[in-house]
């Protein structure tokens, strides 16, 4: 019998609990039109044995390669065997050839399951459906079984941690930007390798979700690293999106005291887009593409993303104006795509 419905009526946490308590075997599919994303979780007698996410597949091969456990050549050989008719999964083939151990597979598959399940647990909108199916055949020594109950407990802890980070990182659409160097005495940055990885690809264009996808890391882990860097002033959050009335659509602007003041700035600039568009018609110099303002302390830039939305961006005065303009253009393109994905 299929169990299905909207998440707003039965929360994802309750769905997991129900499948755990009733010892179900089959596939849970969770789909969010708003996120344009879909996740699948495979259960065997109430225990989670596998999980995948459409937008961020975290393929086992990629994870093994990234961790240095397997080389691209190893993976190419394994996938070539699959193409030639080998029915085993990549992990099974790599274990059979002694490239990785069952323990490695266990660790990385657990990581893969946790990433998907914790991501799904942050969804409050969308639909779920559970279909009972026979368990998927897999070699016993590399079969992973993750207790649903323990995942739920860890998920609740993470949600709690996310809410603590929400003042600086309200969601994964936040775009971090490297903070300018100050003129103070030289200081040393002591970062862990993973923190360096995140820092090295912050470019003022990718958001938290895109950084996580690029590094094949859970969004939560990336958000935690970025939160730490924000707290130490290593990076800034600067881009956000408002509708023409100044109401927030996405992003935030955190001031030095840690307060999100994007709503206040948005309200102060409400109506600008409509008024400028009207004036441009009178002046006959074409549509407006940007307004860039240099103040005593920062550069503020805004540009129309759609008829209803304006991208706002703030940066330190030490960021060159040309770079501000480039980031603004890129942010507009990202905002347009994001708006389209939500229609």
């Amino acid at each position: 019998m299929a169990i299905e419905g909207p998440l707003r009526e039965l929360g994802i946490h309750d769905v997991f609990q129900l499948l755990d308590l009733s010892r179900k075997t089959g596939t849970l599919r969770v789909y969010s039109p708003e996120r344009n994303n879909e996740g699948s979780v495979y259960f065997d007698a109430g225990t989670i044995v596998a999980a995948t996410m459409k937008s961020n597949p975290h393929l086992l091969g990629t994870i093994l390669e990234r961790s240095g456990k397997a080389t691209p050549a190893d993976l190419a050989r394994a996938t070539a065997m699959q193409r030639a008719g080998d029915k085993r999964r990549v992990g099974e083939i790599l274990v059979a050839h002694g490239i990785v151990t069952p323990r490695d597979i266990d660790r990385f598959m657990r990581q893969q399951i946790e990433t998907v399940v914790f991501d799904l647990m942050s969804w409050s909108e969308g639909f779920f459906s559970f279909t009972e199916e026979p368990p998927r055949p897999i070699r016993k020594d590399i079969a992973v079984r993750v207790s649903t109950e323990s995942l739920l407990m860890e998920g609740a802890r993470r949600i709690d941690e996310w809410s603590r980070m929400a003042d600086k990182i309200p969601d994964a659409r936040v775009i971090p930007l490297l903070a300018p160097l100050d003129d103070g005495p030289e200081s040393f940055i002591d970062l862990l390798p993973r923190e360096w990885e995140v820092l090295s690809i912050i470019d003022g264009e990718r958001n938290v979700h895109e950084i996580a996808k690029r590094l094949v890391l859970p969004e939560f882990e990336v958000a935690k690293i970025i939160y730490g860097m924000l707290s130490t002033g290593l990076i800034d959050i600067t881009a956000w999106l408002r509708d023409s009335g100044g109401k927030p659509l996405a992003g935030s602007y955190i001031d030095q005291s840690g307060r999100d003041i994007s709503a206040e700035i948005g309200a102060a600039l409400s109506g600008v887009s409509t008024e400028v568009t009207k004036s441009m018609r009178l002046l006959g110099i074409g549509g407006w593409t940007a307004v860039v303002v240099e103040t005593d302390a920062a550069t503020i830039a805004l540009a129309p993303a759609t008829q209803e939305a304006v991208v706002l961006l703030a940066s330190s005065l030490t960021v060159p104006l040309g770079l501000v303009r480039r980031v603004l253009t890129r942010s507009v393109a990202l905002a347009i795509n994001w708006m389209r994905s939500r229609v």
Binding site: Y253, D255, I261, E264, I265, A267, A268, L269, G271, V272, E275, V276, S279, M280, L282, L283, G284, I285, G286, G287, W288, T289, A290, V291, V292, V293, E294, T295, D296, A297, A298, I300, A314
Partner: protein, 119 residues
């Protein structure tokens, strides 16, 4: 203080500047203006530009206050076929309409110098 007509005259000589004006920061009324370069035949852009510049300047000043980012020193409105530059100078703003092929850095510098001389 440098005479306002001298300010607009100096600015209007910078290559790419179509018109230079001194405008009331709160009311958007023109206080002093240059002639429109190459504007024969078309609609006079000065009044709508002056009104828009003052409106935008007051809006960004409010936004800048809300963010505690200080006073706007220079504002640039970019459009497909021209730019409008605005620099605040006490209770007036200097406004120029500039062609897209102008040396924007030079126009900006001249306007900042003019604003400093005026204050």
């Amino acid at each position: 203080m440098k005479a306002l007509n001298q300010v607009v005259d100096t600015l209007s000589r910078v290559p790419g500047v179509v018109v230079a004006m001194v405008v009331g920061a709160t009311d958007g009324l023109i206080v002093e203006t240059s002639a429109v370069i190459g504007g024969a035949g078309g609609a006079d852009p000065r009044k709508p530009t002056a009104a828009l510049a003052a409106y935008l300047y007051s809006k960004v000043t409010r936004a800048s206050d809300a963010a505690r980012l200080g006073t706007p020193a220079f504002m640039r409105l970019e459009a497909e076929r021209g730019h409008i530059f605005v620099v605040g100078a006490r209770d007036v703003v200097l406004v120029t309409i500039v062609t897209t092929d102008a040396n924007l850095g030079r126009v900006r510098l001249e306007m900042m110098n003019a604003a400093r001389a005026d204050s």
